[in-house]
């Protein structure tokens, strides 16, 4: 039930942020909509650890800045490749182990791989992700498993 209440509060804050007009009528309808949606989500059984993963809040604060830094580094790397007149690419297809247990952490890992320029997660086969990388080095970096460990930490601090 705590999760339903926190979901209603998050939805209400979202409403207030998007609205910006704080009249009695608009705030009242915001409260009614937020509570109605939270109750509907509760009835539909989606207000659980997966649908409203508020327990990931603290570990996201350390994981996201690290991910943003990785994205900047690899985006600059891919930019150098594109600007280089000889286009030094060496496309590589590889499989990467994923050691996460929960679906949320697995999606986070696959999404992080795709979000980082230079690597795209193509498919999931059992415990492995099929990854297309733009250079051999990008593939080797991912195979080294730094991001995998980070995502497992992200999951472990639940």
């Amino acid at each position: 039930m705590g999760r339903v209440i926190s979901m209603a509060i998050v939805l209400l804050v979202f409403w207030l942020t998007l609205s910006g007009h704080y009249t009695t009528f608009l705030i009242t309808s915001g409260v009614i909509s937020a509570v109605a949606i939270a109750l509907l989500a509760y009835r539909m059984d989606v207000a659980d650890r997966e649908g409203h993963p508020i327990h990931l809040g603290l570990s996201a604060l350390t994981y996201w800045p690290w991910l943003v830094w990785q994205i900047i580094l690899s985006a600059l790397n891919v930019t150098r490749i594109i600007i280089n007149p000889s286009l030094p690419i060496s496309p590589t297809l590889t499989r990467v182990k994923m050691s996460q247990k929960t679906d949320v952490a697995r999606v986070t890992y696959a999404n992080s791989i795709t979000l980082t320029p230079g690597t795209i997660s193509v498919d999931i086969e059992g415990d492995e992700i099929l990854v297309h990388a733009i250079t051999r080095d990008n593939a080797s970096d991912l195979e080294a498993g730094g991001m995998d460990r980070r995502c497992t930490q992200f999951e472990g601090s639940v």
Binding site: I71, I72, T92, T114, P117, I120, V122
Partner: protein, 108 residues
């Protein structure tokens, strides 16, 4: 508006524009669809990220900044899903990527 903030915001906007152009050039230069996705992901991340950051500096501590932040988070969650959907559908339709090396052991 403070002069330093003004220049910071325009530096971010110009940088974002630069990376969007780089991504577009990459889209045209890359040899096949898989490698083109890599070029497009520069636009999704650094291009959009820097433009929105520049706009946030422009609007200061207002509700607009909070809304821009929501847009940024939305793009960061949805754009990899779109890239992945394209890559996965190409694989399922047996589109063969141009490869220098295949470490999967499929010999495709």
């Amino acid at each position: 508006m403070d002069v330093a903030l003004y220049f910071l915001s325009w530096a971010l906007l110009a940088g974002g524009g630069f990376f969007c152009v780089v991504g577009a050039v990459g889209l045209l230069r890359m040899p096949d669809a898989f490698t083109r996705l890599h070029a497009a992901s520069i636009i999704d991340t650094l291009g959009v990220g820097m433009i929105i950051a520049g706009l946030m500096v422009q609007s200061g501590l207002t509700l607009t900044t909070a809304r821009l932040g929501i847009i940024l988070v939305l793009v960061f969650f949805t754009s990899p899903v779109a890239s992945h959907a394209i890559a996965r559908s190409m694989r399922h339709r047996n589109v063969k990527p141009v490869l220098s090396e295949d470490r999967t052991g499929e010999g495709s």
